[in-house]
């Protein structure tokens, strides 16, 4: 944390509360993500992790508190505005446009950009990062293997030239070998200079590559520390087990339409 003193966070949540109908999904959540960091938000089922991402992206409006992107309060701004200002997400289960080709998926990532030279250059960067994606460009995204789809999903997100990349459950729905590969990809992107905010259930994997982390339990941040300290903290386990499923927050599961 000492490295971040005096700097303005790239992305911030200040005392954010959010509701799904009567369900109080986020309670006074404070988060700050600084440029160049790889940070993670941990928590069990229905702890409010996906709600946090939706609130950051503008898919859900906070009932109180502020979402701040690069110094600007963006509470009332739509997703497209925030994407144009440099935030994007790799969604849980990748959610590629399966009936579109790989090339079209990547092009849609750059939907808001007008600089065709820059887009072409970024496409080349994605091919460099994931040579296998280049071989599959003309194929429908739905025909790709899980690992290849993950590459396209990350590539699609990078095409929007994000300043901060959100990752929703990168280990979800992948075979164990691919999970390992996926986390390697994430740290590779991070080492190339990308700010990454990752939401994960798999605490060991996530903290293995992250700088800092928070633990969310029934919508409240219960731990906030460096990755090493969190891994060493016995409270990490108990906070997971403590957040039982019937503790009032069922919103996260119902927020995901298959």
């Amino acid at each position: 944390m000492s490295s971040s003193v005096g700097r303005i966070p790239l992305l911030e949540m200040r005392k954010v509360n959010a509701h799904y109908g009567a369900v109080h999904a986020l309670r006074d959540v404070d988060l700050s993500i600084y440029e160049g960091e790889l940070v993670c938000l941990l928590g069990g089922n229905a702890s409010g992790k996906s709600t946090t991402l939706k609130t950051l992206l503008g898919m859900l409006k906070p009932t109180s508190g502020e979402v701040v992107l690069d110094g600007e309060v963006v509470n009332d701004r739509p997703t497209s505005y925030r994407v144009a200002r440099g935030i994007t997400m790799v969604p849980e289960n990748r959610r590629l446009f399966k009936r579109l080709t790989v090339r079209e998926n990547l092009q849609l990532g750059a939907y808001l950009r007008k600089d065709s030279d820059g887009i072409a250059a970024d496409l080349e960067r994605v091919y460099e990062l994931f040579p296998r994606v280049k071989e599959r460009l003309g194929q429908k995204a739905g025909t790709l293997s899980g690992g290849e789809q993950q590459m396209v999903a990350i590539g699609r997100a990078l095409m929007s030239q994000p300043r901060v990349l959100l990752m929703d459950e990168p280990s979800m729905g992948l075979a164990p070998a691919l999970v390992q590969q996926n986390f390697e990809l994430i740290s590779q992107i991070h080492e190339a200079g990308m700010t990454v905010f990752m939401v994960e259930q798999n605490a060991n994997m996530a903290l293995g590559i992250a700088d800092r982390g928070w633990v969310l339990q029934t919508g409240r941040v219960v731990l906030d520390d460096t990755a090493e300290a969190l891994l060493a903290n016995p409270a990490l386990r108990t906070s997971y087990l403590g957040g039982s499923k019937d503790s009032g927050d069922a919103a996260e599961g119902s927020g995901e339409p298959g």
């Binding site: 898919m59 739509p78 497209s80 990532g109 929007s160």
Partner: protein
């Protein structure tokens, strides 16, 4: 829609390996339908070869068979009619793609296009431009009609459907039936209940041309419809907006994550679908020269059938479905029913068109080009 499917989860049994009683029933119907089609077609062939052979006489003693020219004429009429169904079907299919409901008022958008063309062309005829510069006038009425029908579709979306975004699918569907009645009645109020005609078209449009003995109007319809479909295909397949439409159709939430304005994209889908319907309306007017406030009903329902036959949500399917229904209703009565001794076959066009829908659904429930929907999407 898919009565033959077992409860969700289990794979659907194959056509000839029925498991449930419903499957047995459907298989019996499928076989019966195929027998009727096959016997009718064989009788047709037999009657073509020699109307006096025993099989032909057994099927229908009065049948005389068709001449080559008659047959060609039926096919061409079918293609012309079918390409208009196809143009209308695109709107049903695209709206279903992005919003997941059938916009039953789309047939009325077609009627609005035909009416606009009627008014504009009569105005042009009054000042003499229609006769002196037919092609120019045609382009003009097409432009006006496309604008008016697009606007109709866009306003319809804004006023009737957008407030229902997120409601169960049945609700916009029922609303669309209401919108349909509204537009029909608006036409009666504004233009009166009588049928109205397009001005006379030049002789070269009416005359049969040496090339295959086709009327000029039908050539015009087929060519213009083909060009419109090609333009739409290019728009949806190649342009950025088209990609956005397909992205919204597949996953609106992720599309918005790409920065796509979902509402604006939906408006564009309605506008483009309305434009295609307006184009079809003009072609209808040129070919049949008569419009009334109910003009949109039957072509609308048939175009909807065409969209389903082709596989709803699939643009190529909508075009193919339109053509197949058009040709089937034109050729079917004389190819299958007449040889079987059914009387008054030319009255049975509509019955044949909708039978075609049922037959395709019996054999391929997802339509010719459709993908089978996952169980949770069936409703």
């Amino acid at each position: 829609m898919d009565e033959g499917a077992p409860p969700s989860g289990a794979p659907r049994p194959r056509l000839l390996r029925p498991r449930t009683r419903v499957d047995w029933f459907l298989t019996v119907i499928r076989v019966a339908v195929l027998i009727v089609l096959a016997v009718g077609f064989m009788a047709f062939i037999a009657q073509e070869i020699n109307p006096d052979n025993p099989f032909a006489r057994w099927a229908n003693p009065d049948a005389t068979g068709l001449t080559g020219a008659q047959f060609r004429g039926l096919v061409i009429s079918g293609i012309a009619q079918g390409s208009m169904y196809g143009l209308i079907a695109l709107g049903y299919s695209m709206v279903y793609g992005v919003l997941g409901f059938i916009n039953f008022a789309h047939g009325e958008v077609f009627m609005v296009g035909a009416m606009t063309g009627m008014i504009t062309s009569n105005k042009l005829a009054d000042v003499g431009l229609w006769e002196s510069n037919f092609i120019g006038s045609l382009v003009f009425i097409v432009v006006v009609s496309i604008i008016v029908s697009s606007l109709t579709a866009v306003v319809m979306e804004r006023v009737a459907y957008r407030p229902l975004r997120g409601a169960p699918r049945l609700i916009p569907l029922i609303t669309s039936i209401g919108v349909s009645f509204f537009l029909q009645n608006a036409s009666v109020v504004l233009l009166g209940p009588a049928s109205k005609s397009y001005p006379n078209v030049p002789d070269w449009v009416k005359a049969k041309h040496t090339f295959l003995q086709i009327e000029g109007a039908k050539i015009l319809v087929i060519v213009v419809a083909a060009l419109s479909m090609a333009a739409l295909w290019y728009y949806v397949d190649r342009t950025k907006t088209g990609k956005a439409m397909r992205a919204v159709a597949e996953d609106a939430e992720i599309a918005s994550l790409m920065g796509i304005d979902v509402n604006r994209t939906i408006v564009k889908v309605f506008a483009v679908g309305g434009a295609m319907a307006g184009m079809a309306g003009i072609l209808w007017g040129i070919l049949f020269r008569s419009v009334i406030h109910t003009t949109g009903f039957l072509p609308g329902i048939k175009a909807f059938s065409a969209a389903v036959v082709g596989g709803i949500g699939h643009l190529g399917g909508a075009m193919a479905g339109g053509l197949s229904i058009g040709v089937a209703e034109s050729v079917g009565p004389l190819l299958i029913l007449e040889p079987l001794g059914v009387s008054g076959v030319s009255q049975l066009r509509d019955a044949v068109a909708f039978s075609m829908l049922i037959i395709v659904l019996l054999v391929r429930p997802a339509g010719l080009f459709g993908e089978r929907l996952p169980a949770e999407d069936r409703a």
